[in-house]
Symmetry: C2
Subunit: 334 residues, 2 copies
């Protein structure tokens, strides 16, 4: 069950009961448009502030996944959720009405991987029949939080990524379905000294490489053992770095590697520079696209690895580096 | 194993291998002075910013608890930790050097309860031999984060609490010791509409009452079944509220109730108004005082219930309420 240095292989692998995704207008104009459960045209989601809008996204994603699963709210034992805002207010205000015990998580944009890892352990350990794992982000609340308010009209550098407005939620449970979480590899904080908060791909790629390499060691596997190896939001810049870093360690992932930040937007027409990012990026792309491919059996086994950049505007302004973290989850069709 | 609506009773209850606490000067002048493992006189902990100081506190607490346990760093499978800063930078920068897989948590001041709950499940589920559960806060980084920079010299209202400078860490593991975590009750977000961020006790008391009442229902217990029922940081204001709220629900906790925020400082001489607060408050008071009492058998069974106020300065400035959450952990001498 405990596997190598940082991994677990589940003896009784839990199943994904359902997945749901709620996104904003721009995400709904991208290549995955037809796969989202809900596309909201109003960037405020009917609320008065960006923070309340993000709370509303979480609330809708949670309600949708419960409805899709045909479970009752009372059958969900725990919520595992987080977001990018100061003190996670999107989660606190968004999930309040559900009245389900909450484990608030912070893994920056790796939060969906963290939520799925803990959720899978709690179900596999016999501590719950069903739990929700979810995460959210909102373009405008994130820009306000980490960079500049939108009203400034600040120009974006080519390496900048576009925070996804959206929330993805899955229910992990014991009931048989066509997708199982069969293993996890939990990441360490990795700091290579990168300080550029406008180049998140470069900040996070070393952490993704660290977790991915350890995963291959712990499970004694090769990239070819996976139909897809998918990071959360390394984008175009981070993609090139992780492929190169893994090559230096003797693994060629170029053939089956993909990234949710690249999948989310159309590079040519959507002006999103280095790709999508945010907790909501990997969460929504997983729920909308990869989970369906796994359910259909088009993907038999994948490694899903959300990536996080551990900074705040205070740490950035104080000249600190931007460490990264990445949590890997093995998903298999059955 | 699953117990009632929100609880777990562990079939194979994990043990606490060791606990350690690192605090600041003011905490070291309080009634628990002799019980802390380290009292640092320099509020900056030798660093250049309040945020770095708090990171240093976490690093020291983690190193100390590992040393006290006689375990090697490599024998710790996971870190469960969190803090109050924006995007949890105290945790990210403080625990980086340990190179141990990290689950970042956010439960506001309830984080130690959340960390102990998840850590206990992960060990009891067979997913780790040893994990660290910890949390931190720092008076100056918290004032800067949530209220006003210290340089303003703002006057404090009588209901205000004093954020504890400190970090407490425990190792939860399988090896037999004299203290076990035998159960948990995980809290929901509870919002009674209180908006006063200078009166955290009133914000958190309803959540503490909600978790405590549900705990009694789930385990079919009464307050007398515990030698102590201890909240994290309700302080003097919150204490009166929870005793009253529980009385309305038919439970008299006045005889065995206590609060870490009350225990930490001397009300008469330390000018801390309604008592201590912060993630570090319950974490350090538990490690310094209650864990020792449990080890000695002076306390046979206690309910430890860290309490959190789920606000940010943005949510406060936007006029939102301050919801609360509380996570209860059952500890028994053996």
């Amino acid at each position: 069950m405990i596997k190598g240095l940082q991994s677990i292989q589940f003896d009784e692998a839990p199943y994904i009961q359902a997945g749901a995704s709620v996104v904003g207008k721009k995400e709904g104009e991208g290549p995955l448009a037809k796969l989202f459960d809900e596309i909201e045209q109003d960037p405020m989601f009917g609320k008065d502030s960006w923070e309340e809008a993000e709370s509303e996204i979480q609330r809708r994603a949670a309600m949708r996944v419960i409805n899709k699963s045909n479970l009752q709210k009372s059958e969900i034992r725990y919520l595992f959720s987080g977001d990018l805002l100061e003190q996670e207010t999107a989660t606190s205000f968004g999930l309040m009405d559900l009245e389900i015990p909450l484990f608030g998580l912070y893994g920056a944009c790796s939060t969906m991987g963290e939520a799925m890892s803990l959720g899978a352990m709690v179900v596999a350990g016999g501590f719950a029949e069903n739990v929700i794992a979810m995460a959210s982000s909102h373009f405008a609340s994130a820009e306000k939080q980490f960079r500049f308010p939108l009203e400034y009209g600040t120009q974006r550098v080519p390496s900048a990524q576009w925070t996804v407005t959206g929330s993805g939620a899955i229910i992990i449970g014991k009931k048989r379905s066509h997708v199982r979480i069969t293993g996890i590899t939990t990441g360490k904080i990795v700091d290579m000294g990168v300080k550029d908060s406008m180049n998140m791909g470069a900040c996070m790629a070393p952490a993704a490489c660290d977790t991915l390499y350890q995963h291959m060691m712990d499970f004694d596997r090769k990239p070819e053992d996976y139909d897809r190896i998918v990071t959360g939001d390394l984008g175009y810049v981070g993609r090139d770095i992780i492929i190169e870093l893994m090559k230096q360690k003797g693994f060629d992932i170029s053939q089956n590697y993909s990234d949710c930040g690249i999948k989310m937007f159309d590079k040519e027409t959507q002006d999103t520079h280095a790709g999508g990012s945010g907790c909501g990026c990997s969460a929504t792309v997983f729920c909308a696209y990869y989970l369906r491919e796994l359910e259909k059996g088009n993907i038999k086994r994948m490694l899903f690895m959300p990536t996080g950049a551990l900074l705040s505007k205070v740490s950035f302004n104080e000249g600190r580096t931007v460490p990264g973290i990445a949590h890997a989850v093995v998903l298999e069709h059955c």
